[in-house]
Structure formats: C-alpha cells, structure tokens
C-alpha cells in the first residue's frame, strides 16, 4: 500500500537556522497538510494546501513558516529562522476530497538547540 514518506526522520538544527522538512504524499492525493506535536502535547494543525496554494492556516503558521510543492511531488515545510519552541514532531498528511481520511507520514522529529 502506498505510503506518505517524510525525510529526514530526525533533524537537529541550531536556533536561528533555516530548516526544510520534506514529504512525498501518495500520488493521487489532492489535499496536503502539515501538523506538529510538541512533546507531551496534542497534535496541532499548521497548514493545509490545495491546488498549489494555502487553503487554511493556523495562528502557529506565522511568517517564519512557508510551504510549497514545486515539482508536483515533494511537499515541503520551511521554517526560516528556527526558535527553541519549534522543537516538535512534524507530520505531513495527504488526502482526497476534504472529508476523506488523511494519511500521515511517520513524522520528522525536529530538535532546535
């Protein structure tokens, strides 16, 4: 069964540095999402992406964050200048029509030092 794949599995970065998290969704997905889970807390929505543009974003998704899907395959989340509080597990997800189940990757653990 096709899977959503995320790379890297673990990223360690110095505070203030840029980081790019990568995701390869299942090919027939139309909607793409990023969520994050800070250790010990609930999974939080960051952003949804449809038809090559952001369709919804949370208050967490400020100007330091950006997403793109440049080649129709990879879906990336960029954090321009990382902060300590960006340390979390970041999950990519993809899905069909809006209310269809979202399929998640195994996540990227981002550690900011």
């Amino acid at each position: 069964e096709p899977e959503v794949t995320q790379t890297p599995s673990h990223q360690v970065t110095q505070m203030g540095q840029e980081v790019i998290l990568r995701c390869v969704p299942i090919s027939n997905h139309l909607y793409f999402y990023w969520y994050r889970q800070i250790l010990g807390q609930k999974v939080e929505f960051l952003v949804s992406f449809y038809n090559n543009e952001i369709s919804e974003k949370s208050e967490i998704f400020d100007d330091q964050f950006s997403v793109e899907r440049p080649d129709g395959s990879n879906f990336t989340l960029k954090i321009r200048s990382t902060k300590l509080e960006d340390s979390a597990m970041y999950f990519c997800a993809g899905g069909g029509a809006g209310n269809q189940p979202q399929h998640f990757g195994d996540g990227t653990r981002l550690s900011i030092l």
Partner: protein, 113 residues
C-alpha cells in the same frame, strides 16, 4: 472553535479484557469523525472513520466506534485487547469549513499481560 476532548489520558488494561476510549467533541454543525492510532516511534494510522450512515463503524484490528450525535460523542471500543494494542489513540474531528483535523489530547493504552 472546534474542540475535542479525550477524557482519559491513560488507560491500563489487562490482555483479553475489553477497553473503551472516550471522545467528546463540541460542534453544532455536521462533522466527520476519525480515530487514529500511534504506535511507538511511528506516525498516525487511521483506525476508523465516521462520515455518514450507520452510527456504528468498524475499523481495523477489531476496533469499533459509535457516533452519538445527541451526546456529541464518538467512543472507541474493542472487546478483547492484545499486547500489540499498546499505543496512543487519538480522536479527531474534521469540519469542512476549516479544512483541517482537530485532535483530542490522546489516550495512552497500556495492555498488561
């Protein structure tokens, strides 16, 4: 704002005993409901979904859940658990207007021999 409450943060249960994980949501409009499972060091895997139709939905690994609109609940059950069911379970709600999943805080199930 949409909220999802999982009343139990941890549920210890003996092998072959039944388990029920409670989930309540706040919404006055149509929602779509999901349960996801997260095994250690893995991503979120869909257990089951309620989109419409029968209020009793069956999922993978012997799990089932019942949608109760009047009580705004979507409790998850399994009649007999295995050691391999040890994991964290997340209830999630999708509202079309928001194009995102809102997760509960998770319930950690520990199955003891």
């Amino acid at each position: 704002a949409q909220s999802v409450t999982q009343l139990d943060s941890q549920v210890p249960v003996f092998e072959e005993a039944p388990v029920e994980l409670r989930c309540n949501y706040s919404s006055s409009v149509s929602v779509y409901l999901f349960w996801y499972v997260q095994y250690p060091n893995q991503g979120l895997q869909l257990l089951l979904k309620y989109l419409s139709g029968s209020t009793l939905v069956k999922g993978i690994n012997g799990f089932e859940a019942e949608f109760n609109k009047s009580q705004t609940s979507f409790h998850l059950r399994k009649p007999s658990v295995h050691i391999s069911d040890t994991a964290e379970y997340f209830c999630a709600v999708y509202k079309a207007a928001g194009n995102k999943l809102t997760f509960g805080g998770g319930t950690r199930v520990l199955v003891k021999p």
